[in-house]
Symmetry: C2
Subunit: 355 residues, 2 copies
């Protein structure tokens, strides 16, 4: 009987829920110990961000993230023939960089909600959001480098390159919001930087820590990079058509933020009547002063035009294309059969997820 939870469905009998849980269970204690090193009140602010305490400082069970990155980092160690535990510092470092970027991005974008809770800058103020983000970024390198091995040095170098791409992607994302037209290629480049680079690092960092050579690490990076693009394509679909109850975001979330996401740029590029009508509406929206008071119907109209111009279907196909490229990349690396099946199942999970 198929489960109601997509995390239980698997392509090859792999239990995704268990895989994600393993990543979370093994990395969270190390992550918490790292965060506890921060000087007050940054430890408290970070604990709030991770959902370990509520705004009043009381212990809470937040929903956390999906934990795809830690799961990847541990599997990645197994690709190199190491125990999954070897990937833990990599999993923690990647999570720290990911959360550093969430703290800063939420502030830059003015986002008030994340994972159904007020964002850090909203609760603790902008200065703490900046500071704690900085601290998590520094901590990421510290956690790796204190291993003191040559492998840790190589892993840190890859993480640093991924972090810089992440920052480049956020810079592009911000600059695109002010531009009238963004090409599909520019959007894909931005999403590759913003989402692909860090997933690429997650997918290779365990292997690097486990002593894999550069070719293996590069191939795993390619898998993670395209997985990241598939992940982001799904995210872009959820950002417009996702169920607010499941995503924890507002209806038409990305449209409200005038995001030039994949469905939008693909629809604008199509050039037919719906595409042109959408282009005129969005151009007028960019100049509008009462955009914030738009009704549900006005956003629904825009969403319908995006769909009519093929933006929804194109993005959905793009997720499948990137998924296929990711799986193909895996063929280039020798690894235990069960690890290959698990990496493939994680890729499947990413393109069927609902949040």
């Amino acid at each position: 009987m198929p489960s109601a939870n997509p995390a239980d469905d698997t392509a090859a009998g792999v239990e995704i829920a268990a895989l994600l849980e393993r990543g979370r269970d093994l990395s969270t204690p190390v992550l918490r110990a790292a965060v506890n090193r921060l000087a007050a009140p940054m430890d408290t602010v970070a604990s709030y961000h991770f959902g370990w305490i509520d705004a009043a400082g009381q212990p809470s069970v937040g929903e956390g993230g999906k934990a795809v990155r830690p799961a990847l980092a541990l599997l990645s160690a197994e690709v190199a023939g190491a125990r999954p535990e070897v990937g833990i510092p990599g999993a923690v470092a990647v999570e720290l960089v990911h959360n550093f970027s969430l703290l800063h991005d939420d502030l830059m974008d003015g986002d008030e909600q994340r994972r159904h809770r007020d964002t850090v800058w909203k609760v603790h103020g902008p200065a703490q959001a900046i500071l704690v983000g900085d601290a998590l970024f520094a901590l990421a390198n510290e956690v790796l480098l204190e291993l003191g091995t040559a492998e840790a040095g190589r892993a840190t170098r890859r993480l640093t390159v991924a972090s810089r791409k992440l920052i480049d992607g956020q810079a592009q994302d911000i600059s695109y919001e002010h531009r009238e037209r963004v090409t599909v290629e520019e959007c894909l480049e931005m999403e590759g930087n913003k989402t692909g680079a860090l997933l690429a690092c997650a997918a290779s960092i365990g292997a690097v820590l486990g002593g894999a050579d550069d070719r293996t690490a590069d191939t795993l990076e390619a898998y993670g990079y395209h997985l990241g693009l598939a992940f982001q394509a799904i995210d872009d679909l959820l950002g417009i058509w996702g169920d607010p109850v499941t995503t924890g975001k507002q209806t038409w979330s990305d449209l409200r933020q005038r995001k030039k996401s994949l469905p939008v740029v693909a629809a604008l590029a199509e050039g037919g009547p719906a595409s042109r009508e959408l282009g005129e509406l969005l151009a007028a929206d960019a100049k509008s002063n009462d955009f914030d008071s738009f009704s549900e119907e006005e956003f629904a109209t825009r969403a319908a035009l995006i769909e009519e111009a093929g933006g929804r279907e194109w993005t959905s196909q793009e997720a499948r294309r990137q998924h296929a490229v990711a799986i193909e990349a895996l063929a280039g690396v020798d690894m235990p059969t069960h690890v290959r099946a698990q990496l493939a199942a994680l890729a499947d999970f990413v393109v069927v997820r609902k949040r």
Copy 2:
């Protein structure tokens, strides 16, 4: 005939101006090349911050910083018997971390001016200040790690620890502003984190890159740490009694920002009549709604009380004490005589500087 410029005066015939210039001349081209790697518009924003272009994007000759850190990093390589050039990536990495912290601190503190120019968040907005700060931080690790050597891994680890302390120090600085009382010990701990840690790193990073052992690096760190505390004590004096024309800051700058700097906390700890009067005034100031409209005379009154309670003299002596500890630390390391004289002369320069 003694020169009018303190940078020309030397304790042991060392030309400080030439030493600072060497650090600047050797590190700036590498720093500029690193900054040029940033995605647009971050490269432009960073170039503005460093004073290489003006707000309109035209080339300019900004005054830059004093460049004490690059000078230290190059000397540090010579301590290890390496050529000064070996310290260049270290000098650049330390400058990148220093400037990352300036970009974020100016935004968090709401500072509108630095080096006689509008700060980045004032010209390019808060989002760019956050983003470019993040990018410079990432770039610092990248510049070191791409050397690909074991020494670079060790140097990056020390830089990461220093960066975390820098962030801890800023967290303490912010939290102290909201507290009525801060002890002298707390203030010294904060200044050690905020200024000492990175100067400690600058003073050891060249040696680490030059292959020095941990004991040598730790001893150089001790020299740099106490030099940093001496530097900060002088900075705290200039923050109250510095000449605005020379410092580029407002009169009574730190008093206007209600900073719990060393002269203030030392004066408050003294306990005599002037100390108590100062305490009452500052307690009332903390609750005042029209603090921003205070006249020059009102700040002058507070400065006079700080001086009367011995805060100015104590801080001046503290700078000399820390200077002495820094010089003493140098005795623990073998190094060429001219390098020892140059490190000593740099320490002398730090405690006589006027900006």
